[in-house]
Symmetry: C2
Subunit: 417 residues, 2 copies
């Protein structure tokens, strides 16, 4: 595979202060990868003119096919990305009449809606309509248009707010200036593997010959999951399939997906396909599983609801866990996890019940039941899955991993039924 | 305030592919800011030798007081950050006997626990014990030690896994080589403001004279909140306090915190101080509020639990919302939000009940009840707070903002009682 290269420049003092997490570089990284472009560098700088100038110069002169910037397109004088890009690409700034008309219409509507005098906003609109000479203008999502500056290095200038960036980047991808540069998307095979060490997956990949035939594979671990992405061109399909099928065969039902769908989507879709409903009873996770299921559009096809059964009284009163069971085994026990799952299944009248109880920490651990110990039970119409695990990490890691593990148990129950 | 400067280098192909979100640069950014160091640049590159070499050269020669790297410290040959740092700082790699002993002990324990032959791990241990000559070694958190390389630019090399990075960075901060460089921490005043536009806060800040007296202020908006941080040295305390107090006076009880505590901590602490308990009944958020309350260590002091009342039957059966009320007003209505809050308060016997119902989208919106419309009610022993809002953005934004707004209503109820 021959690949275009790219660099991304993220601007914003709030990112360099650690007050805001940059999400735009990740959005662009995933999109570039889908289009077969190799992102080689991401740079983040604050809003100072000299920092922005230095970073842009370096990237525009860095030999990349594509440089994408995020942020600094607002209406005020300290939003200076477009002017700096004009300088770095050696083009004067010129007024784009089409952009001016478009932005004026947007701010006029805004002014009317908010009862602001539109005259106050027009200087900003004019500033935002100044673009490097010869650049292609991309319609705004908010008030800031994007810009594509052609050249040996094509520069794409995008607004900073994540939803605006996504929309204007979509327009850039559809624009001929970029579509021609990018060419055809590479094909890909994806394998998502649960609870197998990354090194084990990597070893199997090497045994299968690795990327020797020209494929480009990434193996990335995140918490309990390993994701393998095999990118390939038209001539490498056989090699890619041999790799993917060889890995899938090795890890069996630990391979829980061969597409980009999230685990939550996979579970909701699997339940809906069977016409099954689900309910949760969560102690240490206190609603993480139900909230993650509800994150899927159309979750109501499968999700009835759940109980955050944090206090023991709630386990008993709302889910029907017998007080004697808690007294005999402790709230964190396999028995209580099963009772939570069975109880919520009965109370809600759903097909699948999920029960979770654990010691999230940092306090509350004992020798017998240390911090990180979690019991999970998933009870279906005619089968059940249970898990006892001791998760490493802090409270957030224990709770998040517990919720992920619970979703995997539902997935295993569905796969087995 | 005079400030040290720093740059951060993040390495890892998985970040450039957008498969993993870099969290280390944010961790380091916040820590550097606390120590009065100005982080001027963050660079992310993949694991290729030439990319790593080029980025390190630039940063080490970039005139920063401090360069911090994250990742690439593993036991295999493609973990090459330490070797590249040695090259960039012109120091040979030498074996550190102390580090070797420490890593050997760690991998010996690991091998025994996993039933692996320790001989297989010793070459990796030896590789990880090679450090630039004259560097200070920081004890590992996993198996990879960190290093501090002194120089006109001090280079701190840290492991990539976030929990390891945090631990080894803590050791770096405590090491004299870094402690001397950093000097005294600046003071700071923090104001966290709810539901006021960033531009309104910025205007008030300018009216109060801005940073004219030498303070350094950042104003960052994230979703529904604006956070003002005023950093100041010993001579600027009066100016900083005048700014902070002026902003606090302007925005009254919209200023919900003057410290770094999270909203969740603020709410749990406020409830516990009053000896109050809380329960939730959430439709569109389906457990986000209960899960966020449970994220606070010691949440059981206040949180009894909640119901993810996603389906109408669950609103009725578990929370006691009358079916006629849902039929008359619809599930997304002020009446049902109040009934959810009152119902969960009665069922759980808690002091404060939270009810949320809304149209998270993307489907399900109507002209009368569009996507983003959310009703929230918080009912306490002798007062209640309610809110109707139409949140912009996608399903995730609507649900997250709804949960945040609900926590703020609890906070307002506590402030008023």
């Amino acid at each position: 595979m021959s690949r275009r290269t790219a660099a991304v420049l993220v601007t914003g003092s709030e990112i360099l202060l650690g007050r805001t997490q940059d999400r735009n570089s990740g959005t662009l990284a995933r999109s570039l990868d889908l289009h077969g472009v190799r992102l080689e560098r991401v740079v983040a700088v604050d809003d100072r003119e000299e920092h922005l100038r230095a970073a842009l110069r370096e990237l525009v002169d860095g030999g990349y096919d594509l440089v994408i910037t995020s942020g600094g397109l607002g209406p005020t004088h300290d939003d200076r990305t477009v002017a700096m890009v004009a300088e770095a690409t050696g083009r004067p700034l010129v007024l784009d009449e089409g952009a001016l008309a478009e932005i004026t219409e947007i701010v006029t509507g805004y002014a009317a809606a908010r009862g602001v005098e539109v005259e106050l906003l027009l200087p900003g609109a004019r500033k935002q309509a100044m673009v490097p000479e010869g650049a292609h203008v991309l319609s705004p999502s908010g008030t800031a248009p994007g810009v594509i500056v052609p050249g040996p290095t094509t520069v794409v200038v995008l607004p900073g707010p994540p939803t605006e960036l996504q929309e204007v980047w979509g327009r850039a991808l559809a624009h001929p200036a970029l579509a021609d540069l990018l060419g055809a998307r590479p094909e890909r095979r994806i394998l998502r593997i649960w609870s197998v060490p990354e090194s084990t997956v990597a070893r199997r990949f090497e045994e299968l010959g690795g990327d020797g035939a020209g494929t480009e594979t990434s193996i990335c671990a995140s918490r309990l999951e390993v994701e393998v992405v095999i990118r390939y061109g038209p001539d490498e399909a056989a090699a890619a399939n041999a790799l993917a099928d060889g890995i899938a065969a090795e890890f069996g039902d630990a391979v829980y997906a061969q597409d980009d769908a999230s685990l939550e989507e996979r579970v909701v879709r699997g339940l809906a396909e069977r016409g099954w409903t689900i309910g949760t009873a969560e102690s240490c996770t206190a609603g993480l599983v139900s909230a993650r299921l509800a994150s899927v559009p159309g979750a109501s096809e499968a999700l009835l609801g759940g109980v955050a059964a944090y206090a023991n009284a709630v386990k008993h009163d709302l889910v029907g866990v017998p007080e004697e069971l808690i007294a005999a085994h402790g709230a964190v026990s396999a028995e209580v996890a099963v009772a939570l799952a069975e109880g919520v299944r009965a109370r809600l009248g759903c097909d699948v019940g999920v029960g979770i109880t654990g010691v999230a920490g940092p306090g509350g651990g004992t020798d017998a039941k240390p911090v990180g110990l979690v019991h999970i039970a998933v009870v279906g119409p005619d089968a059940r899955e249970t898990l006892e695990r001791r998760f490493p990490g802090d409270r957030e890691a224990v709770r998040t991993n517990s919720a992920t593990a619970a979703l995997h148990l539902v997935r295993l129950l569905l796969d087995a039924s």
